[in-house]
Structure formats: C-alpha cells, structure tokens
Symmetry: D2
C-alpha cells in the first residue's frame, strides 16, 4: 500500500484497485472482463468467493458487476439506450433465480433524498419505472411495484425498517434497490454502474444508511444498483496528501521528507491525517456543479434497463 | 331532500347539511358549536353516536371536528398562526387517549400524490413536520416520524398496505393521516379542516384510496386531518341542475316543468342524471387555478399545528 | 347553432366544429387533412385566410395544424416517438421561413405555472430541450435557448413583457411558445396538439395570459404549440344543459319544455346560463386525476420534436 | 500572508481576514461592528472607500454588510424571525436611496439553479416573496416583482442578459439579487449573510456567472444578498496543506521541512499547488449532506426580511 491511505469506497472494483497484487495472487476474488459488443461500455465481473476475499476488499461475499461507461454523463440518447440494454442483460441474469413457476413480483426501491441533487438518483429511477400490477406476459404474471422511502432526516425511521415493513406485507420475490454511491476516484463519478447481489451496506452512499439493506435485514432477496455521484470530502484530503508526496519525491528539496514519510507505519499516518482533516468535513460531500442534468439522465437510463429486463420494453431488445 | 340530488362529500358536516331536519330530529348525531376566542375561526363538533346516525350521514361512528376558516386561502401569516393554534388544541385532545405512561410515538402520514397540485397537501405537511427521534420533553419520550407513501399509480401497492407494513415494524401509538378531500360546496374549498378519529374511507379524496385507512386496516389508531381541495366533477353537474330548477321555478314559462320535476322520485332523478353526465368526467376533478400557493400555505399551517400539539413549538402557545 | 351555447376553446378546430356548415360554405377558412404514414396520428391543417374566417372562428388569420393522437395520454414509447417525428416535420416547415443565410436562433418559451400540474406542460418542455449555443451543423449556426418566464401570480409581471425584454436583448429569429390550453371537448384532453404561426391570445390556456404573445407584442416571430390539458368549468355547465335538453327532447313529459327552450334567442339563453353558473367556478378548471404522468410524457414528446426539428437528434429521422 | 495560500471567496469579510494587518493599517477599508440588540446575531459593516481598498480585498468599492448568525442552519423559528428583522432593517437602509417621491418598484431576482440543492437559495427566496402589483401603502405605490432567470446550462443565455431585458421593459428602481456564494471557511457555510450595494461579480457563487450583475450590466441599481452554501474544492486542498504544515511545524521530524516550505515565495507555492490539485476538481463543490433543509429555511428567512423591508409584514416590526 505504501504511500496510499485507505479511504472508504462503495465500489468493489475500486477496493480491488487499491491493492497492489496481481489478480492471481488475490485469493477469494475472481475478476473477469465480460465480452460486450458495444465499444464504449466495459463490463467487469468481480466475484468474492470466500471470507478471505471479503476481508481483502471490505465487501461481503457475492457478485459485483461494474459497467464502465465513460460518456454516461453526456447526453447522447443512443449511447444511453445501449447502456440500458447492456445493464438489462445483466439484470435479467441476476433476477433469473428469483422467478417462481408462474411469475415474479419485484419491488424497486429508490434510496436517497430526492431533495439533494446527487442523492436523488434512486427516487428518479422509481419515478420512471413502469409500475405493473399482475401484468400477464407469456402466461406469467409480472408485478413491478416501487417505493421511495426517504431518508432518516425526513422520516425519523431507519430506511431498512420501512422497506422491511413493506416487504412483509407485499412479499416481493426480489427487491431492486437503487442508491447513489461515494467513489474513491473522481473519474468514476457518474460513469460507473455497480450491480451486486449482496445488498447495500452501512457507510454506503450519500445518506449513510446506518443499517444494511440485505436479505437478512429486509426479509427478501436484494439486488443493488449503485452509481457513484459524490466523493467523500476526506478523499480529497487523502488525494492532496498523495499528490503532495508524489510532487515532493521528485524535488531535491523535499526528497528527505518524502522518504521519512514513507517509513511511517499505518498508525502514524492515521494520526497525521486525523490532525489535518477538519472534523466538519465528514458531514460534507463533493459533487459536480452540473449534477442535476447528469443524475436525471442516468436515472432514466437505469429505469429503462429495469423496464427492459422485466419485458415491458420488448422492442428495445430486437 | 326534495330537489336535492345526493352527491358524495368527504365532509360529515356537508352530509348533515344535506338533510332537511332540525338537529333535535337527527337521532344518533350530535352537533355542537365550540366556543373559540378567535373571531374568524368557527369550530363545529359533530358526533355520530350510533349506527342510525352513521347510516344517516354515510360516515362511521366517531367524532368529526370541522374548523371553518373562511380566509384560509389568503396569505395573512397571523391568521394562519391562529388556525394552527386552534387546530393544535383539538389535536391535543384527540391524541390524549393514546399517550403511554412514558411517552408517545406518532407517525404522520402524508397521503396523496405530490405531483398533482391539489393532492399534494399530505406530502406538503410531512415535509414541514418536525421529525423527532425519542425527544425527551418533561421526562416523557416523544417520537414523531413521517412518511409519504405515494399513490397506487406511482407505487403499484395499496397505500393502506404500505402504512400497515411500516406500522407493524415501528409500532406507533397513533397515526395522523393528512389527505386532500372532495367537497360538495365550492365555498368549502380550502377554507375547511375536518379532523376525525374514524380514519379515512374509500372514495375519499382526490386519489380515491380503494381501501380504508383505519385501525382495522393498518393496525393502530388513526386521526385523520382532511381539507377539501377539489370538487368532484359530477357535483358541478348536480349543482347546475339544482340552479336550473331554481331559476325555472320563478319563471312563468317553466313553472310547470319545474313542478313536474319535483314530483320525480329518487330513481327517476338518478336515471336522468346518469343520462346527462359524461362518463369520462368521473376521472376528473375541479380545482382553483391558484391551488399551488393555497395548498402550500395550508400544508404549512397544518404541520405547525402538529408541531405545536406535540410540544415542539411551545412559544406559540404562550 | 340551435341548442348549442358558445363556450371558449383555444382550439381552432373545435371552433370550426361548433359551426354547422359544410367546409365549402365556410368563406375564409380552408380545412384539409394531411396524408401521414402513421396510422394512429391524424393531422388537419386549418387555414384562416381572411378577416371573415377570423370572425367566424374567433381566431386570427394564419395556419393551425392539429395533430390528433388518441393514445397520446398512454405510455407507449414507440407511439410517442412517432408523434415526435410527425410534429417535427411540421415544425420544420413552420420554422423554415425564419432561417437566415448562416443559421437560425430559436428561443423556446415554456409558458404556464410549473407548480400547477396541468399548467406545467411548457416548463416541462423547456426542461428537456437540448440547449445549444451556436452549434455548427453543416456550416450553419444553430442556437437554441430556453426560458420559463413563470405566471403573473409568481412574478408580478406580464409574461409578454418578460419575453419582450429577453427577445430585445437576445434577438432570436423565432420564438417557439408552448402552452397548456383549455378544450371544449373532454375527448381532446391530452390527445391533441395544435401548432400555429399566429401566437398565443388572451383567454388562452390555464393561466389566462392577459396580453397576447405575438410578433406585435414581443418583437419577433412566434410559433405556438398548445395541448389542451384542462376544460373550463363553465364548459361542464353548458354540456350538462345540452345533455339535459337532449334527454328531455325524447321524453313525453318534457317535450314541451324542450321545445320552448329551443325557441329562446341567444340573449335569453345567456341570461339563463348566467343565473345557473356559480361565479366562483370561473376561477377553476377541470382536469384528469392522473394529469401528472400524462403532462410529463407529452412534454417530453414535444421537446423531442423540437430537438429533431432543429437537427439535434438526427438518428430519429433515419 | 506567510503559509496562507490565496483562494477565492465571495465574502468581503473573509478577504479582509486573510490579510494580517490591523484595521487601522488598511487604507481604503473601514470595518465597524454594528450595535444590535439580538445576542446571537453579529453585524459587521465593511466599506471599501477607494481603489486601494478594492485592490486589497479584490472587491469593488462599496458597502458590505455581513450578518453572522451562527445558528442559522438550525431550525428555531424564533431565531429565524429575529434574523429576518435584523436583515430587514439593513435592507431598508440600502433601499432608501432608490425611493421615488410617489413610491418604489423593486425586482427580486433569484439567481442560481433550482435543481441543484445548494444553488437553489435564490429561487427559494423568490418563491416566498409577497409579489405586489402597485400596492398602495401610506399613499405610496410599492411594486414587488420577482423572477428566477435560471442558469446558462438551462437557458443558453447569460443571466445578466435576461435580467437586462426584463429591467429594460419593467424599469424597476432597484434589483435585489439573491445568490448562493462560495465560502473560504466551512464555519461560514449557511451561517453568514452578506448584503452589498456593489452587485454580483464574475466567479461568485455556485454557478459561476460569467458576467457581472451590476448597474452597468443590467441598467438599474443592484443590491445583492448572498449566503455561502458551498466551499470550492480547491479550498479543501489549500486547507489540507495549511493543516499539514501546522502539524509538521510542531513535530521534530518535520521541523526542517516546514521551515523550508515557509521560505517558498508565492510563485513556488503556486507551482506546488498546481501540481497537487486534480484539474477536474474545479468543476465540483463541497456542500453539507443536509443542505436541503438548511437552504429552504434560509431562503424563507431572507424572503421574510424582504417582505418586512417592503412593509408587507408590518406586524413583525411592532
């Protein structure tokens, strides 16, 4: 890890990138790039197969698909339709195990605060979902319901508890939860979609859900779709330090200092960072100035993917 | 009832006004005007004491408070503060029975569709509620939580089912449900608040909840606060007929016709109305053009009343 | 006109339908149906060629295109794309005369109140417009700007005055103004788009602009796109009367009355209607309960049409 | 300035604080604290009297009032009413010179993007303003109009150009422009209101208006009200460096390095910072996670101040 400082990220792929080991050396973690016809969309499947991998990446055992669409923040409608189609394919695979013989019932949950621009991704997706009550497709019944539970500052209740209550009464086969995430690297902002079958975990996203949203906590299967829309403020501090050390290491003046620094152990580094970070920064986030348009567009793209994956928008797939 | 035609109203007081009997002749219904210091706010308490009264007024047994504030659609801040205070007093009385020894937990539910102006009253109220997690006041714990469940077109789920799920997990002592109602008389639009301990019943409001929101359906006590913000389209048709008959009855030309008409029995009247009403009208409502400002203001006034009633805004009461 | 009573409509085609004359008898009005490949979209071009026609239809001299898309309130994405394409073709023709040699500058104006659901059509369209600052297409410079001026209750200023000021500073070649209209017939609600080169006139729409938005009032060419999203409340009253008279005329009991009624002259009819209409009704409108979804969808469809017509979304036309 | 690095701030008072000179040494700048009955609200009046002062503080000649209300982000209604009253007093003084003999006409402009939470302050204020068309108070005519011009990404037009057009047509005596600002110090976020008679200058605020909004650019007098709601991302980097140097200066290990660093001249420091800052950061900002509630509340408080200052809410002042 050398001069890198650990900072939280909601993306499994970023966790993997922090580790300076070859793929083959990572026990319990499988990384494979998926073939994909679209030129400008890359899909990486990362599987954490055991507890060793889970500890390495600070994420639970499960599948993590990462779609990298570098121009997703742009407005090309055609490109967004391609993203929807690619995402729909993978969603279909993840939903597959939860079909009953005679149909499926899916609850789409839009996490986050609709009043805070970069946190409004989930609510935006649910707004565009094609709600279906017992729609009959090829003699199978598909139900798609949706809810925007709000955040604790608005409701006074744990989001997981609200969802658990709704799940208990409506018994969906699977919940698809959409959330705005925090990225480690600003290049990933609004260009990456992570889809996972492990749910949503504390510390994720803008709103810092205090409780996990998983099969254990809400009582049904969970597929989580996340897009990094903010960077945590401490990340900026870490990056500044990193860049400073890099800059110093090539300067005669500071070579010695840079070297001393590298010899710090993790505890010493941690202490230093605690001293140089402003405490109020932890309640803030960093976000692009034009987040409003971007978030709306990505929300629409994800809702289309869900509509396609649940067969509502057949024409797209032909 | 003579030349009056029955049309649905969510207001118990309007139902009572439709009946041409003295108060003393109404068995099972008690109507009393409450003393109130504020000049421009009138409070009428209507109690349905038994099934006979319930059948008469087409409303369940229980208490119905009606606040008449003729200038509530106007913007005087002072007047709105008075309405909040008066409403808070009555809310306190209705909440009283649900206190436990060591406190109370209240869930405020904003019914309706936040995207449809006259139906956004409930969501507006919840937006302004002072959410409290175990606030300690005079050694008693008060919790105020809030939720905007959305309408079935948005969620694909019955509103009552969502609330039931949340109630089951969070166990509030009482739910305060706020809803936009349909009035019979356009003079009542945005000038009347009805508070009742009987919950919310099918056919009420803009959104036409199909299931009641009552202690039976959601599993805890319900206080309902409603404000008529729309008139049903058929009402306009009935009113037109009524006005026409009145106009005709004073005209020599039409005296005979008007007389024949009065002799119609209810079945004949019903048949005539069925013929003259456009079927698509039943999915429409009538609302004032400036509903946006009015609904925002009344929403704020009700949320302040709830805040005062739960002791958050003590200074107001001094 | 017989037992019909005149009621205002913003649609030229509805005015024409009120008149019980053959097309050939209407001097100064030409009506022609345009050929169109799409099955479910009908386009009628009505041209008022002189003052006689203008007086007949209570509308200024000019071209009125009416797109009838009976399923426009539904959610089929493919159908909406077809509407966008058809509308784009006609828009292109109407914009054509305003191109300069080296390009065109268009200001899209979203009239109406974004806080009142059926009046939010114009603001919705501007939200989805692809804003372009001097975009170079085939060596021609295209600029698309957009503004949501608000309504007088929000701004305290005449909408026409705000637009005039912006036009004076930015000098667009043409303004495309989008507005929510009032229909005469509930079947036209959210199923009709009127496009005209005559601007927007007093009494139009939900918001009742007091001043016209025309070349004279704002200082540049105006193309107006309107969709009827509300019915005026008096319309309901007139319809009720009409339906009542029809019902009575087939009944023995009332034949005589119905006959007397028909003999009323316009003044007598007007007096009767004044007596039976509630004065407060004139500040209200009638709108479908699910207006929110419909208005959003139609707004998107119109914005796409404008994007296509200005060459931004070329792929659609291939 | 020593180890401080210059970073932009929209607050004149912060500029003054960056300079390590006594007040008496600052030529062309007068700083005075205003007496104020409210305990928890401090008002500092900073006057830049000549070009020397303007160069020192990087701000034009004029008056800058700074209200410091440390608990303004909190929800006490009483405290917010006090802020409104204090702000109203100062606004009245600033408006005073622009009264004509028979009245005044004020245009309130809500700058910023209503879709981006911390930038929505201006639009929120205009939403709550009491619009008045020629209101007669004590035989003087007061007109208050309001507009939300949007940002260039939404309109494709310079904000200053839109305002100039509206001013030209409606000729207000003074424009009150409300904008979200960028602060240097996170402690000032949502706790400070700056009021100035110098207008709004390039580089201010979240939206980075490219053109100034001043008497010269829009054609009438401008009073600007600004609240810092974001911190620029580079600020975080500078702060990190500052804190790092402070931490290093007390450590034996790094004393030497810290000393070398202090000896850097401004050019050397500037070069180092250019190396350690990520270029994409300049399009981002830092904002608190709960910005939605705070911005709504402060917007309401400022609109109340304007309402009081223009005599609409007389009761408050008694």
């Amino acid at each position: 890890m050398k001069e890198k400082f650990r900072v939280r990220t909601d993306l499994a792929l970023e966790e993997r990138e922090e580790i300076e080991l070859e793929d083959s050396e990572l026990k319990g973690v499988i990384v494979e790039e998926k073939k994909n016809e679209q030129e400008n969309i890359r899909v990486i499947k990362l599987t954490i197969t055991n507890e060793h991998g889970a500890r390495l990446l600070h994420k639970p055992v499960g599948t993590y698909l990462t779609l990298e669409a570098p121009e997703m923040a742009e407005s090309s409608e055609e490109y967004h339709r391609e993203i929807s189609c690619v995402l729909a394919e993978y969603l279909k695979d993840l939903i597959q195990p939860y079909w009953r013989e005679d149909g499926i019932s899916i609850l789409v949950v839009g996490l986050g605060n609709r009043e805070v621009t970069p946190d409004a991704l989930g609510p935006n997706v649910v707004n565009n979902i094609a709600i279906q009550r017992e729609n009959e497709v090829d003699s199978q019944k598909i139900s798609i319901s949706g809810i925007v539970p709000g955040v604790m500052a608005q409701t006074g209740m744990e989001t997981a508890v609200i969802i658990k209550g709704v799940v208990r009464e409506t018994k969906p086969d699977v919940v698809i939860a959409i959330d705005a995430l925090a990225a480690r690297n600003s290049k990933r902002l609004n260009t990456t979609i992570q889809v996972t079958d492990t749910g949503i975990h504390p510390g994720s996203g803008v709103g810092n859900h205090r409780k996990a949203i998983t099969k254990e906590s809400i009582g049904t299967n969970v597929i989580a779709i996340g897009v990094p829309t903010v960077i945590d403020t401490p990340t900026i501090v870490y990056d500044t330090l990193d860049n400073l050390l890099k800059a110093l290491s090539v300067s005669k003046h500071f070579k010695a200092m840079s070297d001393t620094f590298r010899k710090f152990n993790d505890e010493e580094k941690y202490q230093l960072i605690r001293e140089i970070i402003n405490p109020e920064m932890s309640d803030m986030f960093v976000t692009p100035k034009d987040a409003d348009e971007t978030i709306k567009r990505i929300g629409y793209t994800i809702s289309e993917a869900i509509n396609i994956a649940t067969d509502v928008e057949k024409e797209y797939l032909m």
